[in-house]
Subunit: 208 residues, 4 copies
Amino acid sequence: MNKALKSEHEKLSANHQKLIDATIESIAQRGLGDTTIAHVSSLAGVSQGYAHFRFKSKENLLISSLQFLSNEYMDSWNKIFDDKKLTPIDQLINIIENDFHPRIASRKKIAVWFSFYSEVKFIPAYQSICQDQDQIYFEQFKKVLSDLIKDYNKEDLNADEISETYLALVDGLWQKILFDRKNYSNEFCKKLIYNYFKNIFPNLSFKK
Amino acid sequence: MNKALKSEHEKLSANHQKLIDATIESIAQRGLGDTTIAHVSSLAGVSQGYAHFRFKSKENLLISSLQFLSNEYMDSWNKIFDDKKLTPIDQLINIIENDFHPRIASRKKIAVWFSFYSEVKFIPAYQSICQDQDQIYFEQFKKVLSDLIKDYNKEDLNADEISETYLALVDGLWQKILFDRKNYSNEFCKKLIYNYFKNIFPNLSFKK
Amino acid sequence: MNKALKSEHEKLSANHQKLIDATIESIAQRGLGDTTIAHVSSLAGVSQGYAHFRFKSKENLLISSLQFLSNEYMDSWNKIFDDKKLTPIDQLINIIENDFHPRIASRKKIAVWFSFYSEVKFIPAYQSICQDQDQIYFEQFKKVLSDLIKDYNKEDLNADEISETYLALVDGLWQKILFDRKNYSNEFCKKLIYNYFKNIFPNLSFKK
Amino acid sequence: MNKALKSEHEKLSANHQKLIDATIESIAQRGLGDTTIAHVSSLAGVSQGYAHFRFKSKENLLISSLQFLSNEYMDSWNKIFDDKKLTPIDQLINIIENDFHPRIASRKKIAVWFSFYSEVKFIPAYQSICQDQDQIYFEQFKKVLSDLIKDYNKEDLNADEISETYLALVDGLWQKILFDRKNYSNEFCKKLIYNYFKNIFPNLSFKK
DNA sequence: AATGAATGAGCTTTCATTCAT
DNA sequence: TATGAATGAAAGCTCATTCAT
């Protein structure tokens, strides 16, 4: 790829990304119901026609925004397992830290996730984008937990159920962050999660 | 009130409730964004003009529907505390049973709750219905938990944090029910919740 | 139907018909390409939204206009055969007179017919509306012609082929009327048609 | 013109013709209304920008395409009169054979002609291409017919009216081909035309 | 009390056209 | 010569709302 082509491509990607960022921004600012192509385009600094030209339809722009968040999350998740030498306990800590990292669990981004949860018509789109990934996260989380259970001789614990509980808890806490109730800082969420695991593994230290 | 007037009033109320039921049905079927007065009226079997005449505006119909759901939940919640002789442990059990009772935690109603949740930040009326109530539930739940902690001499437990965790967990599990992932029957959800509390109160029996 | 309801219905039909008339008018005035809902609504004196409310889509409004013309033609055609005592020659004359009657073969209405001929996407719609009718016209015309052939002992003539020729000729002449070339008055068209039949039935008098 | 320039010019012409062919293809496939520069360019295998660069405007591309069809027909027509020794009867036969030759009277090209026909009234450029040519064909056809009438001593026949009838009949039959009604093969059309002339000139042989 | 025809503001979408490269 | 990203005007369409009945 020569320089001119590369710069061309970067410009292309830039506007594509600008529109996705603007969509996320708009959903967070005014909700899905009042998010219009006109507003998104204006936020992105491109013409309304261009947004359509680029994404074919409003629905596709929304779905692309979900896809972006999904990819972003997947990347951050995979990074955790890049380091093969991590102990199960450190893996667990890294997962929790990642799930409530401001880049992942910002109100802006959570707003988009919940927009997809809130409109039944998006459920098929959500499933086609996230279902397989969600299954992978579940399996990998269960693996971490199983290792931890083995390491600490707590074989009476059910890795499956604890994993389900953790994943549900993350979603529930994200929702509290979105609603912006008192105390629901990301730090507070992590504290609740750590407390949950401290109860399960009383002898474990979750010091980072 | 004479008989004629009463029957008149009942008819009035009947149409009122028909429209609210139809609104909930519509939101569950097609989402908030695609819920139109035309569709709701048609589901309710009344004219579009009448829906307006009765609720003044679409927003007011939506608010009334949310209020209805909120009242329904509140009624079921309050019933738990009607019996003054219940022990804290039975109160906790009743809360959990109620939160995952099919009448409360049906996919239809969960879909509607999530629809409103996602707009809560932008519509003050939703905020006062959802969040103010949430605060009340939080306080009452914390009271139950505090009693439990005291009864079982577990004063090192933090009622505040456990309450937050419980409420987050309920929302997280409701979402799993909505998205219909494997295993997420209401019974399975309750099992996860009970496991959570068994870990916190190891000596406690959660037999109903 | 009481008076109020009837007047209501007439008003309804009136606007429906106004829009169809306006569509025909617009196609004749500016062609299919420049016929917009905005212009049609304005011609009809109703709002743009109403045109959509009434006809669901632009395409459906266009198709409804074709349907109207098709019905109108069918009615005029059927009237010819109401009188059971007509001789074949009078039936033939009546068919020709009808096909070039100003109410049927006006440039305004021909413009609509040709709009449907001109857009391949309308061919399915045309066929579903007109195909069966066209077959009926063909059969009935052939019957008239067969009677005529029998009456005048011209059994060597092929009723089938003459009927096809007649129907093609009508369409071809309608097109000439539409293009408004010199001499193509409806009277001139009829003269050409009569000449065609005089050649086939030299001893026949086509005096009305 | 040197070799390089010539090849350059051929490439230029090639793209020019590709776009015209694609335009005709597109109109036949989806109609004039749904023919877009984007689709035409894509069919032609060139960029959208290039189509504009080459034809300045969409209207000009359409006009050029109509002009191409018109020239093609004119060329085929003129070839008939190249041979100065043809008898009038052979000229007539050649005209008929040409008008229903598959290269001229294919459904694809008929569809395109009808698309332009329907807009002829509104676009002066179409008018000058279609209607002015039509006048020439009419005059030349009348000349052939007049010669035929003279040769066969049928001076009571009206060359003018027969010519008009023939031209109308061709258009009417083309339309039947377009709509693909039963029996309307090009051969069947020719048979109907020949029958028409056999009736007018009973002693004539139309053997090719 | 209840209807439903009619409105119009505002949305999504389309597409010929432009222009920097 | 040829590209394709980007524009913006104008189209089709939706829908809460109004209002005469």
